[in-house]
């Protein structure tokens, strides 16, 4: 019972933080923020940060960090733009090539971090500079565009209405099925469980929020293709983290790497695979970003890593490793992007945007740390 309360509490604090920021923005922008159009755009803007944050969660959980995601996503986007605009490749080979570039960068990281035991901070810091240099070099300092029409769909396209409704119905059904099944299985095993009313209440809240989420998008232009990528990636990564040996090994390495070592976990292989995967995920984020902007620029991706890490940490990932959930990072990404979006609507100076984002990150994590310390008997 205690465990359920604790998990629900931390999820609710993130949700409460998000809702309060939305309320604040709505009031300040006289309601413009809360229009379906703006929220739908907000969700689309979140896509890049969300993709990076999902990968960043697993990296942080393993006790490492990745500072190069911004530069790498810019590099991948630049490569994609060049292949399409200058070499006139078709979309599918371009996507494969970009993912391969990301994977190669990830393997480079994995080699130095896992096998040469160079601290992840240093390796990814060096990559941040190296990849930025490579982008500036291959683009020659100019913005490269335009991209193929079929490529643009990834970042700017929307699903047709019937597909949108279908997906909404499927997602709602899936959530209801998972929650009910979990509850029934726990009851069968005689484990601790909430009452039926708790289940109904939790289900109602979840379904309502999800339905509102999809409704907002459906009411404007439909569900964006980028959002589908984000959701699919989040589901896959969450499944990997919670229900596969690989994921549990990552959590164990972050929680106590000595114990993980003596439990027979091959730390080097796991970390290597983790960083390789992160490279591919970063490439995906670069693809989405480039498709949205319809071009690859040498300044693409600056400060993305900060947003990704902040999103993950706001979403409950511990900075020292061992704890973190993917869906929390999604909410964290929403928080960071909402602040960006709201401040743009308010025409605030860039100065304030930076300051406020930094302070929000600090206070969100401080409150979460305090809540955790209170609920645990230390």
């Amino acid at each position: 019972m205690n465990k359920m309360k604790k998990i629900n509490a931390s999820q609710y604090t993130m949700g409460i933080a998000l809702v309060s920021i939305w309320l604040l923005m709505t009031i300040l922008t006289h309601g413009i923020f809360i229009t379906f159009r703006n929220l739908s755009n907000l969700f689309l803007q979140t896509a890049t940060t969300a993709v990076l944050a999902c990968g960043m969660v697993l990296i942080l959980v393993s006790g490492n960090i990745d500072l190069s995601v911004g530069s790498l996503s810019g590099l991948c986007g630049g490569v994609a733009a060049i292949l399409m605009a200058r070499a006139h490749w078709a979309t599918a080979p371009v996507i494969l090539a970009t993912l391969a570039v990301g994977l190669a960068a990830g393997i480079w990281h994995g080699f130095w971090i896992a096998f040469r035991k160079v601290p992840a901070l240093i390796v990814t810091l060096s990559s941040m500079l190296v990849f930025r240099g490579i982008v500036i070099g291959i683009t020659g300092g100019c913005t490269i565009g335009p991209t193929n029409d079929s490529f643009k769909v990834i970042g700017q396209g929307y699903l047709p209405p019937w597909a949108g409704y279908l997906i909404t119905a499927l997602v709602l059904a899936a959530i209801a099925y998972c929650e009910i099944r979990k509850w029934i299985v726990r009851r069968q095993h005689g484990l601790t469980n909430g009452s039926r009313w708790m289940l109904i209440g939790k289900l109602a809240l979840l379904l309502l929020c999800t339905f509102a989420f999809f409704l907002i998008m459906l009411s404007y232009r439909g569900i964006s293709v980028a959002m589908i990528f984000v959701l699919v990636l989040a589901v896959i990564l969450d499944y990997i983290g919670e229900h596969t040996a690989f994921g549990r090994h990552i959590y164990a390495i972050g929680g106590n790497s000595d114990a993980a070592r003596f439990s027979g976990i091959n730390i080097r292989k796991t970390i290597f695979a983790l960083y390789a995967g992160m490279g591919a995920i970063t490439a995906l984020a670069g693809i989405i970003f480039t498709a949205r902007l319809n071009s690859g620029s040498p300044a693409a991706g600056v400060n993305f890593e900060m947003d990704a890490i902040a999103s993950a940490v706001i979403g409950g990932t511990s900075t020292v490793g061992g704890e973190g959930r993917i869906f929390g990072a999604l909410i964290g990404a929403l928080v960071m992007t909402s602040i960006d979006n709201g401040m743009s609507l308010l025409n605030l100076d860039v100065t304030f945007q930076y300051i406020i984002k930094g302070l929000v990150l600090l206070f969100a994590v401080a409150i979460d740390v305090q809540n955790r310390a209170k609920s645990q008997a230390v």
Binding site: K3, H189, L191, A245, R248, D258, F262, G264, I265
Partner: protein, 419 residues
């Protein structure tokens, strides 16, 4: 146990010893005043649940109800002479109602305290003596007490080490000429050779700093390749370059620092038990949650890990329960050789006994256990063979029964003398 045996024992020694054939050994010591002093009697219990608990709850409820009524009566009347006398049995009854705690004799002690040097654990409380006599004399009740799901009575340990006859089989581990280089030209371990047999507990004794933990960790591969010598497991030469390889080859290590090397404190019991064993419970890529829960439940039941629910984080468990989680982890993975480093450090006496029983069980199933321990009684009581190490060398080897504390201490300081 037969009822007559119980009575005979009781009459001859004034104590009752009841043995179960499994690890839930029930031993009770009954200490009470002379028969004509029928005020109170102390029974030492470690309460696990069952009939006694119900009885006590009944008595506690009765006493509490009585106390309330008396208090009410006292408050409504000007004189309050009954209040102090009711509070004493109330507090003692309340302390008795606490489950599972083995606290020292509580404040309501009315009979003489136990002898200073004994291993008795008391939860003191008073019960009407007559009911105890009824319990004790009634063989049926005692049988119910002995029931595995009933109560565990742990008091004076007549036998702290469950000595069982082990029949060692073939050699399963052979270490030859094992040398680990240290700094300044001195070797941490110097040309060590020994064998471990299946079905045997090999004890390694010695002073701290003799290199026993280094021996274990270097065999596991924690020293990487800064070692020389050969390890043969089941006749095959193996290279343990990392602990992961060593676990795959069938040799696992239970560290003395269970919080640092044995458990991921932030994860729950199920994850910790299944951490090296996901291969056993996964279907394709994904872990079968049902199997995970089933195995964890099985080991929690077998090892009697006390936890309100399986998702409890292990950092909230007691030392003994944490050690049991580590043991469950390795029991599930079925290694060939299990190296224990100080298996019962920082654990209460009851849990220690349970861990010894678990070790005996493991050995009977065909494992080979190497037990590194600094407690001489433990090494002498549990091992079938004892190696003594000193300053990185093996200085003596004794079979069970040949060794004595003097001999071991002499061997443990031998290297220093020869230098």
């Amino acid at each position: 146990m037969e009822r007559s045996n119980i009575e005979i024992e009781m009459k001859s020694t004034g104590k009752i010893a009841i043995f179960n054939d499994k690890c839930t050994t029930l031993q009770s010591l009954e200490r009470r005043e002379e028969k004509h002093d029928a005020k109170a009697a102390f029974v030492a219990l470690q309460i696990k649940g069952g009939k006694i608990m119900k009885r006590m709850k009944k008595y506690t409820a009765l006493i509490l109800a009585l106390a309330m009524i008396l208090l009410l009566a006292a408050c409504s009347s000007p004189a309050a002479t009954s209040a102090p006398t009711t509070s004493a049995p109330t507090t003692s009854a309340q302390s008795a109602a606490q489950t599972g705690s083995t606290a020292a004799a509580s404040g309501a002690a009315q009979s003489s305290a136990p002898a200073a040097g004994s291993d008795e654990i008391f939860v003191g409380f008073s019960l009407p003596t007559q009911s105890i006599e009824r319990w004790v004399k009634d063989g049926e009740n005692m049988k119910a007490l002995c029931d595995k799901e009933g109560i565990k009575l742990v008091t004076q340990m007549l036998n702290r080490y469950p000595a069982e006859k082990h029949i060692p089989a073939e050699t399963i581990l052979r270490v030859s000429d094992w040398t680990v280089a240290g700094q300044n030209g001195r070797n941490i371990l110097d040309h060590i050779s020994f064998e471990a047999k299946r079905g045997e507990i090999l004890g390694i004794a010695g002073l701290m700093g003799a290199g026993r933990t280094e021996l274990a960790t270097s065999l596991m591969g924690a020293f990487g390749t800064r070692v020389s010598g050969t390890i043969e497991i089941e006749g095959k030469t193996v290279q343990n370059a990392t602990p992961a390889e060593s676990v795959q080859n069938g040799m696992s290590y239970v560290s003395e620092d269970r919080k640092r090397f044995g458990l991921v404190l932030g994860m729950d019991i199920k994850d910790n038990i299944c951490l090296p064993n996901f291969r056993m419970i996964q279907k394709g890529f994904s872990i079968d949650e049902y199997q995970k829960t089933k195995y964890s439940e099985k080991y929690c039941r077998e090892l009697q890990i006390k936890t309100p629910f399986l998702e409890q984080k292990v950092k909230n468990l007691s030392g003994g329960n944490q050690q049991k989680v580590v043991l469950a982890k390795w029991m599930m993975s079925r290694p060939k050789i299990l190296i224990f480093d100080e298996p019962t450090r920082g654990i209460d006496v009851g849990a220690k006994y349970e861990i010894y029983c678990i070790m005996n069980d493991l050995v009977k199933q065909g494992l080979s256990i190497i037990m590194i321990s600094s407690e001489l009684p433990e090494v002498l009581g549990m091992s079938d063979r004892i190696l003594v190490m000193s300053e990185g060398r093996i200085t003596a080897e004794y079979k069970k029964g040949e060794a004595s504390p003097d001999l071991i201490m002499k061997a443990a300081t031998a290297a220093r003398q020869s230098m």
